[in-house]
């Protein structure tokens, strides 16, 4: 199959601006995008730089943006992605490029993964032999253990796009794996760590990450598990992130009291009743909303029919969390 490859080229050493170079490749229908890049490098331009290692989707080294989608080059057949005879290959987004298709993962991924301390700290003295865990105890975390740290979920993350400091779904998937490992002794400390600013509560839970993971590990679902576990443990905020707890508690208390959300109360209590600067910040929005009838009066929130039944459900669910 004859295909035109449009490949991102950039060499900081020659001072030229990034550009796309065009190559013609002829490969069988079974060929992958990585096969195409290798043919270009071996037969047409030995200066083309790209990463590749396992060639079977197990190492995450060849994460690239192929025809505008984050994919693993070794696992994607040309025939599956080619559009009008063209395959466009670029580095993933939001990342410093070192040369051509080689990028710097240090700040983008490794630093963030290290920040969640994704290693197990045993709760008891390590056994002399293997630390044997029953299969059913690890069944839930197996999915996250398959993560190859390709970074494609972070590449598609709507928050990282605008805030490079957000820890991101890849690191939070690693955090999930440690939080739910029965051998770990740092359970609550981990939940506090990921609840600091820039952590799990900064996620918009928009489910973009699920669509970007090439292995189907559903990082957003893993992240929800971490949040739910933090809530179960009463850890709804890091030591430097008190608004998270106030927001959650206010939301919960409002639904518990009247069955539905008291939006005005939520805004006030999330800022904090004694946080004068925070409350003052709300004023312009409230002043704009009042004449439009869009600022519901806080605390004078009528109870919905069924509020008592909902309160009973919440009470019971909270008791079973403990």
């Amino acid at each position: 199959m004859e295909t035109t490859f449009k490949v991102y080229r950039f060499d900081p050493e020659n001072g030229s601006k990034p550009d796309f170079a065009t190559y013609q490749v002829d490969l069988p229908d079974s060929a992958t995008v990585m096969d195409g890049l290798r043919q270009i490098r071996d037969e047409q331009d030995p200066s083309l730089a790209f990463r590749a290692s396992c060639e079977r989707g197990s190492c995450g080294d060849c994460a690239l943006r192929i025809n505008k989608k984050g994919r693993l080059g070794c696992s994607l057949k040309i025939a599956k992605t080619v559009k009008n005879g063209v395959v466009t290959v670029e580095p993933i987004r939001n990342i410093p490029v070192l040369k051509d298709l080689v990028y710097d993962l240090e700040g983008f991924l490794w630093k963030k993964i290290k920040s969640v301390q994704p290693w197990i700290t045993p709760r008891e003295p390590e056994p002399e032999g293997e630390y044997v865990v029953a299969e059913e105890q690890l069944a839930e975390v197996r999915k996250a253990m398959s993560c190859v740290m390709c970074g494609l979920c972070d590449e598609g993350c709507a928050v990282i796009k605008i805030d490079k400091d957000f820890v991101g779904p890849a690191a939070l998937t690693k955090a999930y794996r440690a939080v739910f490992d029965p051998r770990d002794g740092q359970h609550d400390e981990r939940l506090t760590l990921v609840s600091e600013p820039g952590g799990v509560w900064d996620c918009t839970h928009c489910f973009e990450a699920n669509g970007h993971c090439p292995l189907g590990l559903e990082p957003t679902d893993r992240l929800f598990e971490v949040r739910d576990e933090a809530i179960r443990q009463g850890i709804r905020s890091g030591t430097r992130n008190p608004k998270v707890q106030r927001h959650y508690d206010s939301f919960l208390n409002s639904v518990k009291r009247s069955g539905w959300l008291d939006e005005g109360r939520l805004a006030i209590e999330s800022e904090g009743l004694t946080n004068v600067a925070g409350l003052a910040k709300l004023l312009p929005t409230v002043i704009r909303a009042i004449p439009k009838g869009k600022a519901p009066l806080p605390y004078f929130h009528h109870k919905r029919p069924g509020a008592e039944a909902i309160r009973r459900i919440i009470d019971k669910a909270q008791r079973s969390e403990v």
Binding site: A158, D163, C206, F207, Y248, P284
Partner: protein, 295 residues
Amino acid sequence: MKYAFYPGCVSRGACPELYPASVKVAETLGIEIEEVTDVGCTGAGVLSRDLSDPINARTLAKVEAMGLSSLMTICSTCQGVFTQANHRFKNEPEYRQKINDEYLAEEGLEYKGTVEVKHLLWVLMEDYGVENLKPYIKRKLTGLKVAPFYGCYIRRPTSIIAPKGLSGRKTYLEDLLDVLGAESVDSSGKSKCCGFPILTVNEENSMRMVSDHTGDAKTKGADCMVTPCPLCHLNLDANQPTAEKRAGTQIGMPIIHLPQLLGLAFGFDEKEMELQRHIVSTEAVSRQLEVSIRS
């Protein structure tokens, strides 16, 4: 077909214009709805699922007790939370049974897993039929350039929200705009997060999302944006002045609720659709509609 109607918290709170607009649209089209009143907030993805799943199972059990099998929402977030919870209830019978036994039995309720939850947008496109809308269009929205803005939870997770066979859900807004005579403007934020879920925790990021999305729609030439989600509406409309200030730019992008846009096409005027309640002026929309009528 009759639907149980779940208006959600925001359509009776900070977006009070949404509720009457939705009811007027349903009445115009002859869609029979009955509000399910004695039920709670979905949890909006904020409350832990340990708490929100039993509350939502109770709502769905109430719908069954009304003798109905469809629940209509008017909020992408309510829709998403219900769809995900309902997916668990339908696919994990033991989990559903546990919730029935532990939480619903004492009220004499049981959720059997028979309810389909559908946003008004899905009801129109899948049940009512887009062709059947045509006789009700009294005012073609010709010339009005509208940027669709879906809201995350009516798009993702794809495997549950728009699985095989229902992948058309990804373009329902564009398809509907086409029938109403409006021109779709493809803005980059169309299926992205509006930033509302992190408004409290990280206001800076939230406002950046608002200015990026509304700014891009403006750059692409949209007269307004339309959304099926009142939470997206709150952030994109009520917080747009704050986002403009942070970004140091003037945007002034009107944000229209989906039922309001339908209402305008069905011949209701701007006041009947309560556009005057919006924070960002909707005059640009009115002006364009005037032009459409004259031509």
